[in-house]
Amino acid sequence: MIKNKSFIVGIIMLSFLLLIMVIGPYLPFVEREITEETLRISEDGFDRAPFPPSSENPFGTDSKGRDLLSLIIHGAKDTIFIVLLITLIRYLVAVPLALAAINEKSPFYWIMSGWNRIFSALPPIFSAILLMNIPFFVFSDHRLMAVIIILAFIEVGRVSYILQQEGRGVANSLYVEAGITIGNTPNQLAYRYYLPTLLPSIAVNFFSDLGKVLILIGQLGVFSIFITQTWIQLGAGFGEIQNTSYNWATLLGETRTSIRSATWIPLFPALAITYTVIGFYLIGEGLRAHFNR
């Protein structure tokens, strides 16, 4: 059992989030179905959406009059799912690559360091925007999958490099040499000797990467680049790009236009993202402290 302040706090924060995810949609103050309500009749005439936070809408509404609290609760599941999937794919590629690249003469080392260098030359958000803008992915039927893979692969190099460096650090230690002497093949060596040594740091980095991925898709959301999107025709010859999920990043799409007039629209989704990221980080840091005892 890990007895560590930040780990426990992180676990509590995430458990609360999971609880909200599961029972949230059935709470009395949350709408079952998201409805739009652009006009409201009040005593002195009409009010137009967005409506500021009130007792009816604790977090206010967005410019289509949808209740933000309900949106955030409904969107939690999608958000966590996407983040988890991106990070899982990233580690499924990065860990084997790192293990294969510990021997710096192997071609995998070149693949890994090239990958790392190319994508670390510019901020990840920059590569993400450029790659997600390629027409193949813009309105593809498989956009969600394509985007998840792009976002996962952008940082495979970085993760792999961190792990490889660590593996390299123990490559000359006695017990690894002993493993070579008793006749382990390189594959067995990677699986029996390096992987167990790297597991703690894989776990630590995994949690901090969950946070990083969530920040990245949040940034994309602020730039109105949605992970799930489709376009619908609104009339003869014009249409609108709409996102097809309620994940938190897409709720940030109005940030720039509403930041001066209706700050609550970006504020609450951003708050939800920050809460979750802090939860992930606390768990990661707690694990780090636990393993470094």
Binding site: I118, A121, P123, I129, P135, A270, I278, Y281
Partner: protein, 308 residues
């Protein structure tokens, strides 16, 4: 000599990266909406010929016309860069200097603070800021300024001090990053023999920290210079976009031309030449920061100085 080899190596790597970047950006993107019997269809056809043509014409243009290309409003890329890049450069340089200087100071403070109390995760504030998304921080600060300090000219444009507020906004997170690196670098030296010797000679703790420990930490701290610059630029994208600060990053978003409406016949205003130019300028800034870090480590690290 040592520095020259490193610079040559970086140049080679960055040339390869720039080439890849050009290939990605020049990828044909002329998708169109067409209308068939009143129903809109998204139409895109990829062909290697157009791809090859756009890449070769880009390089031809550079060689023959000595120009980086044109933009949507008939300015050349160079003219646009001359207008927008200096505004971003001011922010980047200010943010770099402030975050490095005050980051190291804060890191030392964090370390000394952590010595007094047994604290697992170092200083709480530094840790917390690591986990805060940049957009959240900016939204909170804007909200505070708009509601409590409306006299702060946060959206000021066209005045000489226009770059100050964006710089400060860009600085906050990178500063915490430097603080974290510094405090962990200082902490890693703890208990080493040279510190014990220095203390045995009767030097005060402060003296040991600033004259001995910090000198040994410079190489670790400065080795993160390029990550620091990448962090700053990543923040810059967000700050320029949300504050509508007319810098290179802001122009970059215009050049990418991402919009929420689709209509028949409207061609994308995607400006590949400009995107390449801005991306490469950012990359050069990162590369320069890497060179600065090499030179700085060389002159600050006593061991390396001895080697020369």
């Amino acid at each position: 000599m040592h520095v020259m080899i490193k610079i040559g190596k970086y140049t080679l790597i960055y040339t390869a990266i720039i080439f890849m970047l050009i290939l990605i950006i020049l990828f044909p993107r002329d998708a169109q909406m067409i209308q068939v019997n009143g129903v809109m269809e998204y139409h895109y056809q990829f062909s290697w010929e157009t791809y090859y043509e756009s890449v070769s014409s880009y390089f031809n243009n550079i060689v023959e016309n000595k120009s980086l290309g044109g933009t949507r409003n008939h300015f050349t890329v160079e003219e646009i860069l001359a207008i927008f890049l200096p505004r971003s450069l001011k922010v980047i340089v200010t943010a770099f200097i402030i975050s490095l200087f005050f980051g190291i100071l804060k890191g030392i403070l964090d370390f000394r603070h952590s010595q007094k109390k047994s604290n697992v995760i170092g200083n709480g504030t530094t840790f917390l800021f690591q986990a805060i998304p940049d957009f959240f921080l900016i939204i909170i600060i804007l909200l505070l300024v708009i509601s409590f300090f409306p006299f702060i000219p946060i959206f000021a444009q066209g005045v000489w001090y226009e770059f100050l507020i964006p710089s400060l906004l860009v600085t906050i997170l990178p500063l915490m990053y430097v603080a974290r690196i510094t405090s962990s670098a200082v902490a890693s030296q703890e208990g080493l023999q040279y510190i014990v010797v220095a203390k045995a000679k009767g030097l005060s703790n402060k003296m040991v920290l600033y004259k001995h420990v910090l000198k040994n930490c410079y190489s670790t701290i400065f080795s993160h210079c390029s990550s620091l610059t990448i962090y700053i630029i990543s923040n810059l994208l967000m700050v320029e976009y949300l504050l509508s600060y007319q810098g290179a990053a802001f122009r970059l978003f215009q050049a990418i031309d991402y919009r929420n409406s689709v209509s028949v016949g409207r061609r994308s205003n995607f400006e590949p030449e400009l995107i390449i130019a801005i991306a490469v300028s950012f990359m050069l800034i990162i590369m320069i920061s890497q060179i600065i870090s090499e030179v700085a480590t060389d002159s600050l690290d006593p061991r390396r100085r001895e080697k020369r």
